[in-house]
């Protein structure tokens, strides 16, 4: 049997949790140079975060290592600044809403990430009682993708926008990604401007085509959110919204060209200054 097939047959995939019995063999891989070995406490989860296709790659040599994330229990609800991909550094999330409805885990993207030899998986099955549900697995992978793929906004821009962050979040509270997407064009996107120079931006709320054509109420909500968002951003010291360019527009009219000239609005882009 191919190496990867053996791993797959045992049930290993993104979101699988390593059994406590595996930890002694892994201790050396959970240690960083010059630091004490990481303590994995009883309630902690050591979760596989490599993509499943890499976990079960046929040849060992193709993927000799597997990434795991040390997730600790967080007492209480997920913290606002760390839940739902608001931060690319720390993530508070619910691993399994059905099996563990009250459990919240937390992890740092890099400090809690380790790599272990993939052949460790051959001798064991994943923890049958604990695993990330599909939504949690997708969330963790999206979190890493966001960290690596988010556009870099000027520090000066982030500092200015942070002063109105709460108001902007409130404006977008009821807007789901499936209905409309917020995009921003920043004229001086690669420049750290001095205090006297404002950033010039254009804002687009790109609306799902079906919503645009069939949903008056939803369109009204979207327009309302757009009006609030633009007003708050324009009132922000050091930021000027181009009101002639900014608009609410259906997705089928927002071209590939337009996506290349704009960034997806993401509050996580502001968090790197924390």
């Amino acid at each position: 049997m191919a190496f990867g097939d053996d791993v797959a047959q045992r049930g290993w995939q993104t979101g699988s949790v390593l059994l406590p019995a595996m930890l002694p063999a892994l201790a050396q891989h959970l240690t960083r140079p010059g630091q004490e070995p990481t303590q994995i406490l009883e309630g902690d989860w050591l979760v596989v975060v490599s993509q499943t296709c890499d976990v079960v790659a046929r040849k060992f040599e193709a993927e000799p290592l597997v990434e795991v994330l040390h997730c600790r229990t967080h007492g209480g609800k997920p913290r606002k600044q760390y839940r739902d991909l608001q931060s690319t550094r720390q993530l508070d999330f619910r691993p399994d809403r059905i099996a563990y409805p009250d459990l919240v885990l937390t992890a740092h993207a890099i400090a809690d990430r380790y790599v272990i030899p993939r052949d460790v998986l051959i001798g064991h099955e994943p923890d049958a009682g604990r695993s990330l549900d599909a939504a949690a697995s997708q969330k963790v992978l999206a979190w890493y993708a966001l960290r690596a793929g988010r556009p870099s906004w000027p520090n000066a821009f982030c500092d200015r926008v942070k002063t109105v962050r709460e108001a902007l979040e409130a404006a977008l509270d009821d807007l789901s990604d499936e209905v409309a997407e917020v995009r921003i064009g920043i004229l001086e996107k690669d420049e750290e401007l001095v205090a006297e120079e404002p950033y010039h931006v254009a804002i687009y709320f790109v609306v799902d085509e079906d919503v645009w054509n069939e949903g008056v109420e939803l369109r009204q909500q979207i327009n309302s959110a757009f009006n609030k968002f633009v007003a708050e951003l324009d009132a922000c010291d050091g930021v000027e919204v181009d009101q002639e360019l900014s608009e609410v527009t259906p997705g089928n009219k927002f071209s590939w060209q337009d996506t290349k000239l704009t960034d997806l609005w993401d509050f996580a882009n502001l968090s790197h200054r924390d």
């Binding site: 619910r94 979190w143 050091g238 009101q243």
Partner: protein, 249 residues
């Protein structure tokens, strides 16, 4: 010069200060305080050494001279100077923090209603802000003010009448189509002109506009499908985005 106009003159330094962001000023003072403390310590140390040397050579026996300058307490002097500046930066930071955290303005019920009515017009027609402003008979910047719920705008009678007229014809359009008017609003009509020109006219001719709507609603239904509509009808689906996953709140 007019008696009512006061001439202001600023030195270059004052002008630069006036343009600075408050946060930059606070930071500048904080780093000056740190630099000052280090500079004062250095000056004090040098003073002690120089003082000892001078008094020893000129006036007093060595031990007595050294004791005289050691009464100068460097730490106390540094504390007094840096405490005043530290107090200023702390209080100023707190004041600006309070200003930033305060809501821009309490919104009035009238402002909220005004913005709600305008949002419905935007939803009904799907016009750009410029086009909606033309239909309402105002400028784009004016409409942006009307759309800002934090600004209390007193609409003139003529604006109120116009808005009511536009709301009337919006209802007529919504009765004929759930899609917004914008994609066909500038299509030529059989009777000439376009729906947009009829709606932007100084006086809105309701009958002409309604006839245009009847024609355009039919036209809208006959529009070719877009690429994404054809893809969806063929069974293609979109990937769920991470932000559409259930919130962990």
């Amino acid at each position: 010069m007019s008696d009512t106009i006061q001439l202001r003159r600023y030195t270059p330094t004052q002008a630069a200060l006036m343009q600075k962001r408050p946060s930059d000023l606070i930071q500048a003072v904080e780093s000056t305080v740190d630099a000052m403390s280090a500079a004062l310590m250095q000056s004090a140390a040098e003073f002690i050494i120089q003082g000892t040397t001078l008094l020893t050579s000129r006036l007093l026996p060595k031990q007595q001279a050294k004791k005289a300058v050691e009464h100068f307490d460097v730490d106390v002097m540094v504390d007094v100077v840096s405490a005043d500046w530290a107090k200023w930066t702390t209080q100023t930071k707190e004041a600006f923090q309070r200003a930033y955290e305060a809501p821009r303005q309490q919104t009035s019920a009238a402002a909220r209603l005004r913005v709600e009515r305008l949002s419905l017009l935007q939803a009904a027609f799907g016009f750009t802000v410029q086009d909606l402003a033309s239909v309402l008979g105002i400028t784009r910047p004016q409409l942006y003010k009307w759309l800002d719920v934090a600004i209390d705008v007193k609409l003139q009678e003529s604006s109120r009448v116009r808005m009511a007229a536009v709301e009337r014809i919006a209802k007529e359009w919504m009765a004929r189509s759930v899609a917004p008017l914008s994609s066909v609003s500038k299509e030529p009509l059989e009777a000439g002109g376009t729906a947009f020109t009829l709606m932007s006219a100084e006086a809105i001719n309701d009958a002409a506009v309604i006839a245009a709507f009847d024609e355009l609603a039919v036209k809208l239904q006959g529009q070719p499908k877009t690429r994404s509509q054809r893809l969806r009808e063929a069974g293609f689906t979109r990937r769920v985005s991470a932000r559409s996953l259930p919130s962990d709140e």
